[in-house]
């Protein structure tokens, strides 16, 4: 075949088509924000076509500009439909379609509504791909062309997307994706793309602060660190090392977390180190370690699309792990994967599901056992897998026998037919994967829930193959890494128990000091100990317990009781405001280091922009304090820290900066020849045999009663993050959702006389919060949903601090509340 793309005829056709396109294009090139990046302008000038001509008469359309992310001027649309295809084929949102005919055709949302509020997820992919100025990133408007680019790992969620920062004069002017080898390809979510405004925010801490009476005043680093070491010494000398607690950070790098836990153990001499993983996935670590021997995601995102069936539960993936949601949606839309969604709320992912289960809040063990019951009674179990690769099956089998579909209906409200359908679909797939998040873990039965998930996967042999597995989705960008490198009270790096003498010996040798043998306190235990006056000092890095702890008022009071509180953060958070010393640290994009994403992938992130004024990296600060405390911790840089990590952490044994490259490495990566592990438990489980654990349904600790008749469940919203310290300081994100709300079912609202937008008051046994009502059928009757990002309406003043026995996670997902109309202010 002879195909020519440059024959005179082809060139002429191209030139004329371009000319034709220009006839319908408004003459706005000079003031168009697309500027040099416009492909139309580029092609036209390349072909010698005038940018100004009397033939140019654009079809003018009004500019609808109601969201802070995307500026849409369809007058400039050339109808290439790239946005439509991107939205459908890559993003899987199918929010825009080519609508109308002839010159009137353009990419529109359903009913031509504004992007925000439509099915659009404001991911910005279409904007990044639009060849002309029809779609423009608003936050980057009027910022000019970048003078350099740098790649970093997204500072928000655990997906670990690679961001390509566009930088001009050391300021971030835009964010793109599509870096080869990245987890996310061309995709990002609104947070990653539009949420870096916090980096250059004027609120950034630029100098150390120390308390003088009621005030925090600026001081020098020298003075601050001196006071820090003195404070620590005073406490440890008087009350012992265990009177100090340290919170590491799921936002800091692996190297920094390693240094923090090393500092805590070796320099202070306590195992009281923990971080926010406690509040999200500690049941995962507990439950999966017990069942499989490893608490991490068994498979990798690369093989997600190989699943014939995906069971999603307790994850509002589209809103919280948008780029993983994107992978799932496209897998479903391409016809290769069928989806089961089980969630008490009617989440957006339900549209893609073949079966949707809506269990009552806090009834996960019941329906998961019920699925297993159906699989067994219908003979769909994988006998061979059970026999060869698992143990304790018979005992477990007996435990699920009572969970007939009928009983499950009584407990969960799920129709038996739906339960059976879901069970059959999951069990008969040749590869079925389970993905879950905090909807499973944040319960007083969190570890049981995780075990029930693991049981179901083992029962059907869906472990150790591509497209299968039990896959917890981690919340923060380095929560996996912080756990891996030992920022936990009971384990050293690589999940090696502090109680194990042999292990301890090894670390004592490496670190050159005697190490404490007893496991330390968890986050929640530290707060409790502080409240009781047993814990005297805390060093908190990049966390904000006043916002994130359950029963937050209690947590605040506990922190106030400490003799000595040091907070190290990039902003003066709610917790920092009550500290004795506040140390300004670097944002992740300002420093070099590695992050480990939800699928165990260790990736490098670069220092892209300079830190403001005196802010320093967590690593430098910790090492300096250690030095002042006569425990020198000197490293030539993060890569040297990684060398130490790999020498002490078998699963990171083969990881070094020189090997990470663009693609990173997935642990376990035991030696320098090993290419990383995509799928865990291939031939055998990490613990040898997979262990079935009988688990029984226990109802949530606090159930609705007459006084508190509703169930409150908490979670995230897509355009804010965690305690909001970053997202609320990113102008676009905060403009879009400047305040929180409580979501109520319309029929509940009606019976309470509450209308959309009314001020309401939510009260639990622990506190009262004032917020606004949003009515939506997404929340089932009897349930109220609230996010925890907003200090003014801190949902965690209401939540129940009751803990899961093993994982020690508080029951964020269920507590009883009362809802009342509030008097307008």
């Amino acid at each position: 075949m002879d195909i020519r793309t440059d024959s005179p005829r082809a060139l002429e056709a191209r030139r004329r088509t371009l000319e034709l396109i220009l006839t319908n294009h408004p003459e706005t090139c000079v003031i168009c924000e697309k500027g040099n990046a416009c492909q139309l302008r580029d092609l036209a000038s390349g072909m010698g076509l005038a940018l100004s001509s009397e033939k140019r008469v654009g079809t003018l359309r009004g500019i609808v500009d109601a969201n802070p992310f995307i500026h849409r001027d369809l007058s400039k649309c050339i109808g290439c439909q790239i946005c439509v295809r991107a939205c459908r084929e890559i993003q899987g949102a199918e929010a825009v379609e080519f609508t109308g005919i002839s010159t009137g055709s353009s990419p529109l949302t359903a009913n031509d509504s504004e992007l925000a509020g439509s099915a659009c997820e404001l991911c910005g992919l279409c904007v990044a791909m639009c060849p002309v100025g029809a779609l423009i990133e608003k936050p980057s408007k009027h910022t000019g062309t970048e003078d350099r680019r740098a790649t970093v790992i997204c500072p928000y969620c655990g997906v670990g997307c690679t961001l390509e920062l566009r930088i001009r004069e050391d300021r971030i002017v835009g964010v793109g994706a599509d870096v080869s080898g990245s987890v996310n390809g061309p995709s990002l979510c609104a947070k990653g793309r539009y949420g870096l405004g916090y980096v250059g925010h004027p609120d950034r801490l630029t100098a150390p602060l120390v308390r003088e009476g009621d005030e925090l005043v600026e001081t020098s680093w020298e003075d601050a660190l001196k006071r820090f070491t003195e404070g620590l010494r005073r406490i440890t000398e008087k009350h012992g090392a265990d009177a100090v607690g340290v919170l590491a950070s799921a936002k800091a790098t692996n190297e920094e977390n390693y240094l923090i836990q090393k500092f805590t153990r070796a320099c202070i001499g306590t195992n009281n180190v923990d971080h926010c993983a406690r509040l999200c996935h500690s049941p995962t670590v507990a439950g999966l370690s017990a069942a499989f021997g490893s608490g991490a995601m068994t498979n990798s995102l690369e093989d997600l699309a190989e699943a014939d069936v995906i069971l999603l539960t307790g994850t509002n993936t589209i809103e919280n792990h948008p780029v993983i949601a994107q992978m799932i949606k496209t897998a479903v839309l391409s016809g290769g994967t069928r989806l089961i969604v089980s969630d008490p709320r009617d989440i957006s992912m339900a549209r893609y599901a073949e079966v949707t289960l809506s269990p009552r809040l806090g009834t996960d063990v019941a329906w998961l056992n019920g699925m297993a019951n159906v699989v067994l009674s219908e003979g769909l179990a994988d006998e061979r897998f059970i026999k060869e690769r698992t143990e304790d099956f018979d005992e477990w089998r007996a435990s699920v026998e009572p969970y007939t579909p009928e009983l499950v209906r009584k407990i969960t409200g799920i129709k038996p037919a739906d339960l059976k359908w879901a069970a059959r679909l999951y069990a008969s797939a040749s590869a079925a994967a389970i993905y879950y998040a905090m909807g499973i873990t944040q319960h007083s039965t969190g570890t049981d829930n995780v075990k029930a998930v693991a049981n179901l996967a083992m029962l059907t042999g869906n472990i150790g193959r591509p497209g299968t597995g039990v896959n917890p989705l981690r919340g923060q960008n380095n929560v996996q890494g912080a756990c891996d490198v030992g920022a936990l009270p009971n384990v050293f790096p690589g999940y090696q128990q502090v109680t194990d003498k042999k292990v301890r010996k090894e670390f004592e040798k490496a670190w050159g000091v005697k190490l404490p043998a007893a496991p330390g306190l968890t986050v929640t235990e530290m707060i409790e100990a502080a409240a009781k006056g047993k814990l005297k000092a805390m060093y908190i890095i990049g966390e904000n317990p006043v916002m994130t702890e359950p029963d937050a008022s209690h947590a605040e009071a506990a922190l106030c009781k400490l003799d000595f509180l040091v907070i190290q953060d990039i902003f003066l958070t709610e917790s920092a405001a009550i500290a004795d010393i506040v140390l300004p640290s670097m944002a992740s994009v300002e420093k070099e280091g590695t992050f480990t994403n939800t699928e165990r992938l260790v990736q490098r992130s670069r220092a892209a922009v300079p830190a403001p004024s005196q802010a320093r990296s967590d690593a430098d600060i910790v090492c300096d304090i250690a030095g002042l405390m006569k425990y020198p911790m000197n490293y030539s840089g993060p890569s040297a820290v990684m060398e130490e990590i790999s020498s002490l952490t078998p699963s990171y044994g083969g990881i070094s900066y020189s090997r990470l490259g663009r693609r990173g490495l997935r642990w376990p990566c035991p030696d320098s020849k090993h290419r990383g592990t995509k799928i865990l438990h291939l031939k055998e489980f990490t613990r040898g045999k997979g262990k079935f654990h009988p688990v029984e349904y226990i109802q949530p600790a606090e159930m609705p009663d007459e006084e508190y008749p509703f169930i409150l469940t908490t979670g995230r919203m897509p355009y804010q993050f965690h305690a909001g310290s970053m997202s609320r300081r990113s102008a676009a994100l905060d403009e879009y959702t400047p305040e929180g709300w409580a979501e109520l079912n319309p029929s509940d609202a009606k019976s309470l006389g509450i209308k959309e937008g009314d001020p309401i008051e939510l009260s639990s046994r622990r506190g009262t919060v004032r917020t606004t009502a949003r009515l939506s059928r997404r929340s089932p009757r009897g349930a109220v949903f609230m996010s925890f990002h907003f200090a003014e309406q801190a949902a965690n003043k209401l939540t129940n601090p009751v803990l899961d026995k093993e994982g020690k996670i508080p029951e964020f997902k269920v507590c009883a509340v009362r809802v009342e109309p509030a008097v307008p202010e």
């Binding site: 034709l20 109808g79 379609e97 359903a110 099915a119 549209r351």
Partner: protein
């Protein structure tokens, strides 16, 4: 077996919602989409590409005007003007929906359906009451006078053959035929007839053979009973006149191709046709006739702004027109994972003649005649006859005193020729079109300005392109702007070159066949009436006195 996909259900549900309220509410789009698990943007997009759907309530007593060429010739634009001059009248929407091909212009919805009123002359005044009085015809039924001719297809059709008639007399013959002939034999008989598919210009037997030997796991035979012209002519009349004959032809084609599915596309607006086919399909089932093939009906708005085959297939699949257009088109079309043959009632009625052993080469063609003739009609004419003969024999000749200046043939895909064309035989006349031109002949007299006529077709082209490809999206409107320059006295000679180049470009690069032929009428006008164009440009003169006196 119900073989309908979610796509056809989508259109059906949208129509249901829209017909209930008179327009499509946003909530209804959301509801229907959710019900069928399609994205709401798609539901909206599909509705948004079809003129049938409105998204806000329309005012009471709405009048629609046919925008097809025959009605245009008869003065639809004047009717629009007259209507818009009525006190309290808003802009009058143009309707490219099924209306019998005659110069019947205004369609007024009433309880019985949509009634038509006669057109008005330039400068005539019109009262709303005039429109509601004494309709000439309804969309449900053509007037008897409209059918003319004695040929093979129309000859016996002075009276409509109802399904009941068919089951009394014809059904047995079909069963015997299908039982006796193997698919191969049926195909051979088809080959012998050398029947041409009016849609593609290929021999029907070749397409069927491709399906029979094709790699696709299944195939489908589709009859488009709407029609390729906006004002819809011969197809709906033939389908209305002999629904079972059409189905019979489809069953035979399915037998020859070895496929198990046939689908009738019926314009949703055409209630009579829908009922008639529904009855036919029910009877077919009741009598258990040829259960080897599933017969289904799919109704969607008839005015589809895209290539018809692609349009029907897209709507059936629940795709937007633009999405359908971007799929590769081959003959037979590969759709729904199947090889598909789409043609019109004329072709299937001819195939049905195989039953009676009359599988000879087609010697006639169904023609619709309009414009300056005494009696607009739908006629069957021998291919050997000339256009002039058809007009004098079937359409009552030309009104006294009319001076014919052009003969427009082939509808929206054809174009105007000089009057000498009246002496050409039909075969050579229609042979001038690559494909798909309808059997329409319109006589144009001196009152019509050929430049405005071309401008009108450029406008029609805009209404008939989905916009998926750059040239289809922008070409017609650019050409209309250039002709508009000429009709408003600002034209330059170089504009003519630009028009030609643009149409050429469309032919070369359009995504679907529509773009390649939709401006044929402009090209024909430029070729045959260049003098008139040049006169407009250089002398600012319009012989017909349309552009300026």
């Amino acid at each position: 077996m119900d073989v309908r996909g979610p796509g056809s259900a989508l259109i059906e549900r949208l129509l249901e919602e829209s017909d209930r309220k008179g327009f499509l509410e946003p909530a209804a789009v959301d509801r229907v989409s959710r019900e069928l698990s399609v994205p709401a943007s798609r539901g909206y997009s599909i509705a948004g590409q079809l003129e049938y759907f409105r998204f806000s309530p329309s005012p009471e007593g709405q009048v629609k005007i046919c925008s097809g060429p025959a009605c245009r010739l008869a003065g639809s634009s004047h009717t629009v003007q007259a209507l818009e001059a009525l006190p309290g009248a808003g802009p009058v929407p143009l309707l490219g929906s099924p209306i019998w091909h005659t110069p019947i212009l205004a369609a007024v919805p009433d309880r019985k359906g949509t009634a038509m009123a006669r057109s008005v002359k330039p400068g005539d005044e019109l009262a709303t009451a005039d429109l509601q009085r004494a309709p000439l015809a309804t969309v449900e039924e053509p007037t008897r006078e409209l059918l003319s001719g004695k040929g093979e297809l129309l000859g016996g059709l002075k009276r409509r053959r109802s399904p009941a008639d068919y089951f009394r007399s014809g059904a047995r013959r079909l069963v015997m035929f299908l039982e006796r002939s193997t698919p191969g034999e049926t195909l051979r008989a088809m080959k012998a007839s050398r029947l041409i598919d009016t849609a593609s210009g290929h021999e029907v037997a070749d397409i069927i053979e491709d399906i029979a030997n094709g790699e696709a796991p299944s195939g489908m035979i589709v009859c488009d009973t709407g029609g390729r012209e906006p004002e819809n002519d011969t197809a709906s009349i033939l389908a209305w006149a002999d629904p079972m004959g059409v189905i019979e032809g489809m069953l035979i084609a399915a037998h020859a191709a070895g496929v198990g599915r046939v689908m009738l596309f019926v314009p949703h607006e055409h209630r009579g046709l829908k009922e008639s086919f529904a009855r036919s399909i029910a009877d077919l089932k009741r009598y258990g006739l040829w259960p080897a093939v599933d017969v289904e009906m799919f109704a969607a708005p008839n005015f589809i702004p895209a290539d018809r085959e692609i349009g029907i297939a897209s709507l059936y699949e629940g795709l937007t027109l633009s999405e359908g257009a971007s799929r590769a088109k081959a003959s037979p079309m590969r759709l729904w994972g199947a090889d598909v043959f789409i043609s019109d009632p004329e072709v299937f009625l001819r195939i049905s003649k195989l039953v009676s052993g009359r599988g000879k080469a087609a010697t006639s063609r169904i023609i619709s005649v309009g414009g300056r003739v005494n009696r607009p009609c739908v006629a069957e004419a021998a291919l050997t006859s000339t256009a002039g003969e058809v007009i004098s024999e079937s359409a009552g000749g030309i009104p006294d005193g009319s001076a014919i200046k052009a003969v427009h043939f082939g509808g929206a895909y054809g174009g105007p020729l000089r009057p000498v064309a009246l002496n050409s035989g039909l075969r050579s006349l229609f042979g001038r079109l690559d494909s798909a031109g309808s059997g329409q002949i319109l006589l144009i007299d001196r009152d019509t300005c050929m430049v405005s006529w071309a401008e009108y077709f450029a406008w029609l082209g805009e209404q008939l392109c989905c916009g998926a490809c750059a040239v289809g999206r922008l070409g017609p409107s650019f050409v209309r702007r250039l002709i508009g320059k000429i009709t408003s006295g600002k034209g330059e000679l170089s504009d003519l070159e630009e028009i030609r180049n643009t149409i050429e470009l469309m032919k070369e690069t359009s995504l679907c066949p529509q773009g390649g032929r939709i401006l044929n009428p402009v090209l024909f006008a430029l070729e045959n009436f260049s003098g008139e164009f040049e006169e407009h440009i250089s002398k600012k003169k319009c012989q017909a006195g349309v552009c300026w006196p």
